[in-house]
Point group: C2
Chain length 477, copies 2
């Protein structure tokens, strides 16, 4: 292991912003993925100049630097597989400007999504990419992973809301990318390249973000289906009808059962449910969208269809979906819910088939998998429930994942819709991007010639990370 110049780092960030205690190093070695690796040191810079100095040092000494936000990444994005410095960005959590006349805000990367939305709320606007982890996810992390969530069908992903940014390059240079205007055609859209680059090209130290008005009216509806195929047809029909849902979620039978089992919600155990929502400033317009979606669900054999503007009723409809993630974790004490293949995107017309494929693959490999997701944006979620102590379950999971991603690619889908690639999804990512892999490596090499920024991820990650390197679980042989 290379040694790190602690006194130098201490001088840059100050005594209280550096951690080398083994327990801290252990904790910072995990994110929300299955992976684990111990960093050499944790620094928590307070300002851009400190970051520039850290990068200058790291670049000179070729020390890996991994920027980390809320640690909510699902695929090992911030796990320091080659050791090095974990740069905890949560010390930089200032909202620098909320500029209402010019319709943008400027924030530091450590700002938590919910905190930004809390600050925007009195102005009647919100920052829409909001992933499910918004209570802890930082704007920097959302940028790094091009995060999005349930409302991306209407409002887009993080890449769509980023107007510009300031970035510290591996050399320590500070650059300004993009602009603060709605449109911009001034050469290379470098800020859009930074979105989704998972901390491998630069450290975002400030972001200029757009926001949108909080709608006055919100109506949510639900429809049950006796087959996945019918639910899938309804999804395709809604999306091609010109309807503009603000949310369109699929929940499959496994998911419904999981919620009933662990939460006792008494949901009707059907093959699939669709939850749909519309929002807007004018009730008639929201009605129009809701009626359109209800009719399409009816046409495709949806049953028990109802919708409501009432916040309590809406909460009831969404409860099953909302509780799904914790429900899966509690499903069985001996099983852990892992995010090994958790957010693929496929064309709308393949949504139902994708869900069916997940069921088929799970059954074949003797693991439990569920299918749910933000169908309106093409995103399908799944979790693998397995006994992480059993080596054979990891092997089954590996096989299942490979099959599932092969299907995703065969229908022109993409490996990740909103969680990123990190380590967990490198195999499928590299297969999907096989013809542009050299190009991606060229970009990485050009911008980070010493390969110090989050090395070993994306193109550099091994195909079989699950069995070829450290896991946060102790697996019996």
């Amino acid at each position: 292991m290379k040694s790190v110049d602690e006194p130098r780092l201490r001088e840059i960030v100050g005594e209280k912003n550096i951690k080398t205690d083994p327990s801290d190093l252990y904790i910072y070695g995990s994110d929300s993925s299955v992976h684990h690796a111990i960093p050499w040191v944790i620094v928590r810079p307070d300002n851009t100049l400190q970051i520039q100095k850290i990068m200058e040092y790291a670049n000179q000494d070729k020390i890996p630097v991994i920027a980390r936000g809320g640690g909510s990444g699902m695929c090992g994005q911030t796990v320091p597989v080659q050791g090095g410095i974990i740069m905890d960005m949560k010390g930089m959590n200032r909202i620098l400007e909320i500029n209402m006349p010019d319709v943008y805000c400027r924030v530091e990367p450590g700002v938590v999504d919910d905190d930004l939305n809390l600050a925007l709320k009195p102005h009647g606007v919100f920052f829409p990419p909001t992933p499910a982890s918004s209570r802890i996810a930082t704007i920097g992390g959302e940028i790094a992973n091009n995060a999005s969530g349930v409302r991306s069908v209407k409002y887009g992903a993080t890449r769509d809301a980023v107007l510009g940014m300031k970035v510290v390059l591996p050399s320590g240079e500070l650059v300004t990318l993009g602009a603060c205007t709605r449109v911009e055609a001034s050469g290379y859209q470098m800020h859009k390249l930074m979105v989704g680059s998972e901390g491998t090209l630069g450290i975002v130290v400030e972001a200029t973000l757009s926001f949108v008005p909080i709608p006055e009216f919100r109506c949510m509806g639900v429809a049950n289906f006796d087959s996945l195929a019918h639910a899938g047809e309804a999804i395709g029909a809604i999306m091609s009808s010109g309807a503009i849902p603000s949310m369109l979620e699929l929940v499959d039978s496994v998911a419904i059962k999981a919620v009933n089992k662990t939460m006792n919600l008494g949901l009707k155990e059907v093959a699939a449910s669709l939850i749909f929502e519309a929002d807007g400033m004018v009730k008639e317009a929201v009605d129009y969208e809701i009626q359109k979606m209800k009719k399409i669900c009816e046409k495709h054999k949806g049953a028990d269809i109802w919708a409501s503007y009432d916040p309590k009723e809406r909460a009831k409809i969404f409860m099953g979906r909302k509780k799904l993630f914790p429900a899966l974790s509690k499903y069985d004490d001996s099983l852990a819910s892992t995010s090994l293949a958790d957010d693929m995107a496929v064309p709308y017309s393949k949504m139902a088939e994708m869900a069916g494929k997940i069921h088929e693959v799970a059954a074949k490999n003797n693991i439990i998998m569920t299918a749910y997701g933000h169908c309106g944006s093409g995103c399908m979620h799944t979790k693998i429930l397995m006994d992480t102590k059993r080596k054979d379950q990891w092997q089954s999971a590996r096989k299942a994942i490979t099959e599932i991603y092969e299907y995703v690619r065969s229908v022109n889908g993409t490996t990740s819709a909103e969680h990123g690639i990190g380590l967990s999804k490198a195999e499928s990512f590299k297969a999907e991007k096989s013809d542009s892999l050299n190009l991606l490596k060229t970009i990485k090499k050009a911008l980070d010639p010493n390969n110090i920024l989050n090395p070993g991820k994306l193109m550099q990650a091994p195909d079989d990370w699950v069995t070829s390197s450290d896991l946060r679980y102790s697996v019996n042989s």
Copy 2:
């Protein structure tokens, strides 16, 4: 001048798809800018394989290659300043797929914008970036320049509508970038980097585009103002009110006079007019937006305010704005309308001040300039009317442009909103991007090591292109 291997090119594209006649070379030496330079040869490939072969040859022999669409670029983007091959992309103009269930289409780069929209119309959808030149502008050119138009305030720019693409790299390699789903978080968003790169990083040979429903209702309104400041305040107030205009256009007094003078439209000669529009599927929602904008205009001393859903009335309201570009060309027989500084973007709160600055600078430099633009997206347009034979007018124009762009940068604006940089705007572009210029050059060098793709543009263009190189006008000394 380097020689080009004509027989080899002839073999690749076929006899009828190569041009070397001096008159052809002359014509292809211009676009819609003030610049001119003679290419060595024009090829019109018919398919991707031909483009790959051309690039392989050009890369090996280090011959410049300039992809060209409709030739509607305003800043010299396709003018071959270092000679070489003009690659006319209009031979590749097939609409490959309109996939309604999955809400995307795939097109070749030579497809004309209006032709795409004509093909989409029967499906009830449209491709929204549409610049004013949509009758001739190609999708490839729109991607190269991140084009947008009057409706970008609501629907965004080309970058927002591009889901994925196939690109031939300088080496001749074919790569697939992006995806065909609404969201994607699979690593570097390379397709977003290609948008706006002005043919300097790769040749787009296929694009996957999203589209949106054609609204059922459209209402347009107008308000006159006795001062630019009041019109500017109204713009800021509209944009920060949460209103969602589908268009918000400013037309200043010079523009109104120009239209009246040349078209005899009898427009009221006020300091400024705002044209606003809302669209949607539900009349009540469109009403809501229009009422909101009308009230804001009233509050900011707008007069003669009216709005209409009637297509004829709407056409009447928009007539002045629509005829502006030709009106400026006809303003005075001895004056040409030039696009030397024509599409800057500034924050909404600076719109009126920007228009005032244009007037001030024009008066000081004894040239005629007008201010109009897509205020809803921050885009301000101006044209410089001048006697292109007079060297002193070019010098005045140069001075005026420098002053205007200095102002744009001083208020956090950006050099180009929708037309791109090319040659004309290189000076301001380089000043604006000064801290990231090395990064941009690094990207260019990494992707095009032999510098064959559209060399001499963007970062490589001289600061003072107007006087340091060829113009399409004969200037008396």
